[in-house]
């Protein structure tokens, strides 16, 4: 009887919703188009995400870009948003280095589809640490202190400068495809929970913090910050109420396989497979990371228990524990289970003409105010690493055969990265004097009762929580890493001094963070 009632309810809702759609103002009609493109390079490339260089040694699973084209209304005045989610560590945008993958994509898309404006295109990264390097178009020697030829030892390899246009071409083609395929559709908004992102900073009893330190220590006091286990979801439907795709927004970067030399989309690959398995092969999954600069998927407390569960789940052969495929599958299961669990309720509550607004603003944020002591400390470190780099380089010079050893370049590229890292502090110190503010691109998109608010950072979770707590939207999706990404830590974290909060890791500090929150909320409030 209950089932019969539910069927009638669904039928009624379906008729009612469709009538609503048919009779409504065309200005609010929503069109939805999806595509996905493979952006896996066909030659070895630099893998981004660690101090040391990694030249890719094959493909664990494809790295992709998923595109969602949205248009509300008709004609030239229609509101448009192109969401592009990339399996990359960050999206270069000219903020930190010369490369600008974001604008390379925009230029190509606008050329192919003149009715789309560059500022209607949002590109975010999932933060997989096993994807091609796109942060710079400089020669590899300028990035890692070792040339690509030396790293590859004569074998074919592709530089970032070569890869970036290829990726931009493919992604732009994907946008064109999604745009052409767009059809009337509806959305439903869901809020679930899944424990995926875990705070990776440990506060010690003496007041300092560290990232990924051992919690099994008498010095350990507590986990420094908070976690956000909410799962913001937006489901998209065609007029037959068939699911076309879903946005999954989770406060966790996808970096389980962060040390891999094989390219991989990390847990999003497994999540997409799990969702498709249950909801259909044609369903797209667009991944977004909410504010999660201080989060990771790595278990900080209780890892032994979790690893045992992975073994009992039968994942033993695939490896268990930190960085394992088992952990990725476990995360994928948690995400997919929630998406699937909410599916019936979402299907019964489709909104065909959601309010749709998109605003982009260049927000000037205060750069982090550094002290001469910060510069002196960083410069001293840079000098140490310079000496180390020089020594290792001399060793290569004296013993050229060293490059025949697999991954021989690890230590020398670490020393070069840390040398560069030390030097940027001085550069930032000088820049702050003449350009105390730095313009940051922020997008705010309202879809129905939900709002999406982007930022280019690895934004510490507290800022996201502040925005969510004060937002007038029913659900607020924070989308981090819609740019090249640098950590944006809280005052508490700066006092703790862990990696992620030190001057070399940051462009902005708490002042910039507070401004970002305030400006984002102002933009959101205007839409309500």
């Amino acid at each position: 009887m209950i089932c019969l009632k539910q069927c009638f309810s669904l039928l009624f809702l379906s008729i009612f919703s469709f009538q609503n759609y048919a009779q409504s103002d065309k200005d609010k009609n929503l069109k939805v188009g999806w595509s996905t493109v493979d952006i896996t390079p066909d030659k070895p490339v630099l893998v981004a995400g660690q101090f040391h260089a990694r030249l890719s040694e094959g493909v664990m699973d494809p790295v992709t870009a998923t595109i969602l084209a949205l248009e509300s209304g008709e004609g030239t005045n229609s509101e448009k948003t192109i969401w592009i989610s990339c399996d990359l560590v960050g999206i270069s945008d000219g903020m930190r280095a010369t490369a600008n993958l974001r604008d390379e994509i925009r230029t190509r898309v606008v050329k192919a589809i003149p009715s789309i404006l560059p500022e209607q295109i949002i590109v975010n990264a999932t933060h997989t640490h096993a994807a091609p390097y796109v942060a710079s178009i400089a020669a590899v020697e300028g990035i890692y202190g070792v040339s690509l030829d030396q790293m590859a030892n004569g074998k074919p390899a592709m530089s970032p400068a070569t890869y970036i246009p290829i990726a931009a071409d493919r992604i732009a083609q994907g946008v064109v495809k999604a745009w052409k395929k767009r059809n009337p559709g509806g959305i439903s908004l869901g809020l679930g929970h899944a424990v995926v992102g875990l705070n990776r900073l440990q506060a010690l009893k003496h007041g300092k913090s560290r990232m990924y330190g051992n919690t099994n220590s008498p010095e350990f006091s507590h986990i420094e910050g908070h976690e956000d286990h909410s799962l913001n979801l937006m489901y998209f439907w065609d007029l037959n109420k068939q699911l076309t795709g879903v946005i999954i927004n989770v406060a966790a970067p996808s970096q389980v396989s962060e040390h891999s030399y094989k390219l991989s989309a990390d847990f999003w690959h497994d999540t997409k497979l799990a969702v498709k398995k249950s909801l259909g092969d044609s369903v797209y999954v667009l991944a977004q990371a909410s504010a999660a600069g201080d989060q990771s998927p790595h278990v900080m407390v209780g890892s032994k228990a979790e690893e045992r569960m992975q073994q009992l789940l039968g994942f033993g052969e695939e490896g268990t524990g930190r960085g394992s495929l088992a952990q990725r599958k476990q995360i994928a299961k948690r995400l997919a289970d929630e998406v699937i669990d909410l599916f019936p309720v979402m299907k019964a509550n489709i909104e065909w003409q959601p309010e749709f607004k998109h605003e982009k603003k260049l927000v000037p944020l205060s750069r982090r105010l550094l002290s001469p002591e910060d510069v002196a400390e960083a410069t001293e470190e840079a000098e140490i690493w310079q000496a180390e780099y020089d020594k290792l380089k001399a060793e290569v010079h004296d013993n050229p055969d060293i490059i025949k050893t697999p991954r021989w370049y690890k230590n020398i590229t670490i020393s070069y990265s840390k040398l560069r890292r030390g030097l940027v502090v001085s550069e930032r110190y000088e820049l702050e004097k003449t350009q105390p503010k730095m313009p940051i691109e922020v997008h705010v998109v309202r879809i129905g009762d939900a709002v999406f608010a982007t930022n280019p950072f690895e934004l510490y979770l507290d800022y996201g929580m502040q925005m969510k707590a004060q937002s007038p939207a029913i659900q607020t999706f924070i989308v981090q890493l819609t740019g090249s990404g640098s950590y944006l830590p809280t005052q508490r974290s700066i006092e703790g001094g862990a990696y992620g909060a030190v001057p070399a890791s940051t462009l902005m500090g708490p002042e910039g963070g507070a401004e970002l929150v305030e400006e984002t909320l102002t933009l959101i409030n205007k839409m309500w």
Partner: protein
């Protein structure tokens, strides 16, 4: 030949060691519902319940490890739908069990509370408690009568579980479920407020961590029938904390659904992990949660229950074939002497003022007593502690803890509403594969962290705390010392899987 002898000797040695730790298990449930009307514990104002929405239960598991026919060690877990376990209630229960089971070491009985705020008041003696209601002499169940009912019913259950114990098996497992939320809001000026409004510009962050691990133990008898399960959630059962009806809070729907899934006879023990700064109330994203509940035609209670049930079912399916019959089993009860939180003169003066104010208001208008009496006694306890402190500044607070090893799992109890960071410290440094922290296994008072004390706010002020952060760390350290001993090489026993 030599190799064969060595092999036989090793086999014999292993078997002896394994057989030395056979587990005998028994389980029971006890109805601890009060006679109505009854005064409810948990809010400053007095509430008299005329009706009950749900029964109140105690889940019981009795464990004995044996070497052949010789008992080695024991534990009896009693999980109760109560706000805490008063020292008197625990002692009365132990005395009763001692009468019924001669020779049984009643200090091995561990009684813990789920922290439901809609269960009976347990104390009415100002000498024993800092939180006393002016319960009417007539027409309401007397506190001592409820304690007697509790003791009778739970002692029956313990006796039954103990008498019916048989060789059994156990396993442990975990999943993750976001149930508890940190309830202490930190503002930009550095102050903290419990349940402070987060929807304001001054909001900075939530003060502490949340522990979304959900640990579970499962117990079977030798017929492979599931006897009991204990489910450890770092969230007090206080979704319905303001109701004026008797209610077991989220453990009721959880228990009902788990029984329906696993069998009516299965005893479900609700344990609360270290969660002094947690509650089931969302601190932000409230509109989104409310909308989802409306769309799904569910209440927050349904939502909580479903999250826990799903985690238990997931866990059960994964671990059900990894049962252990021969496991290391150790249980140590210890009374810790913890330094008491120092009351400053300013705190004394401020508390004295509040006491005086309450006294004056009640004197002027006795009808205000139900609202103000508990507050008066709560602040009044600060005066008592301050005066005692003047006589003996080094005075300590005696606190009972239990630490157990069951196979690869450790269980550590404490009496407090223990802030989550302490639980995390214990879990992080424990040698066990899985560590269960159970709070409120005794008279509950908040045990806050240094960070929380600095922020202030209810639960971290002197009125809320008999023991402060220094005592919290001692509790952690001593618990870990005992766990470490249980994992000494000499105590290690290889596991033998039954299935």
């Amino acid at each position: 030949m030599v190799r064969l002898c060595v092999l036989l000797a090793m086999t014999f040695w292993l078997n002896v060691r394994l057989q030395a730790n056979d587990l005998y298990l028994g389980a029971a449930s006890a109805d601890i519902s009060p006679k109505l009307p009854v005064a409810l514990m948990g809010q400053f104002h007095m509430r008299i319940a005329e009706t009950a929405d749900t029964p109140l239960y105690a889940g019981i598991v009795a464990i004995e490890s044996r070497d052949g026919q010789t008992g080695l060690d024991t534990a009896v877990f009693v999980s109760c739908d109560l706000v805490y376990i008063s020292a008197r209630l625990r002692q009365e229960l132990r005395d009763e069990v001692a009468k019924r089971i001669p020779g049984f070491n009643v200090n091995k009985i561990i009684v813990s509370a789920t922290h439901t705020h809609t269960a009976p008041v347990l104390e009415d003696d100002l000498e024993e408690s800092s939180f006393i209601y002016p319960i009417p002499e007539e027409g309401v169940t007397k506190v001592k009568d409820y304690r007697a009912l509790f003791v009778e019913s739970v002692a029956d259950g313990i006796e039954d579980a103990w008498a019916n114990r048989s060789k059994g098996s156990v396993t442990w497992g975990m999943d993750r479920a976001a149930v508890g939320y940190n309830r202490r809001t930190v503002y930009k000026d550095g102050t903290s407020v419990m349940y402070g409004n987060t929807n304001k510009e001054e909001f900075q962050n939530l003060e502490g961590y949340e522990d979304h691990d959900m640990n579970a133990l499962f117990f079977w008898n030798d017929e492979n029938e599931l006897l009991a399960m204990s489910v450890d959630v770092a969230c007090p059962a206080q979704e319905f904390e303001h109701k004026t009806t008797v209610n077991a809070d989220y453990w009721h729907p959880v228990r009902e659904k788990l029984k329906s899934r696993f069998g009516e006879k299965v005893s479900v023990l609700g344990w609360i992990g270290a969660a002094g700064d947690q509650s089931p109330h969302s601190m932000y994203r409230k509109a989104g949660l409310a909308r989802m509940q409306e769309l799904a035609q569910k209440t927050r209670m349904d939502d909580i229950a479903e999250r826990i049930i799903r985690a238990v079912e997931n866990t059960y399916e994964i671990v059900k074939n990894d049962r252990h019959t021969n496991v290391a089993f150790h249980h140590k009860m210890e009374n810790l002497e913890l330094p008491m939180r120092i009351i400053t003169e300013e705190e004394y003066i401020a508390s004295e003022k509040v006491v005086k104010d309450c006294q004056d208001q009640i004197a002027a208008d006795p009808s205000k007593a139900p609202l103000l009496y508990a507050k008066m006694t709560w602040f009044g306890d600060v005066l008592k502690r301050y005066e005692a402190q003047q006589k003996n500044p080094e005075a300590t607070y005696t606190s009972e803890i239990h630490v157990l090893r069951i196979g690869d799992a450790a269980i550590a109890t404490n009496q407090f509403e223990l802030f989550t960071d302490y639980g995390i410290r214990i879990q992080a440094r424990s040698k066990a594969i899985q560590t269960f922290v159970i709070q409120l296994a005794g008279p509950g008072t908040y045990l806050p962290t240094e960070k929380a004390i600095a922020g202030g706010g209810y639960s971290a002020v002197c009125q809320s705390n008999v023991v402060g952060a220094e005592g919290g760390q001692l509790l952690v350290d001593r618990t870990l010392e005992i766990i470490d001993k249980f994992w000494d090489k000499e105590n290690e026993v290889s596991l033998k899987k039954k299935l």
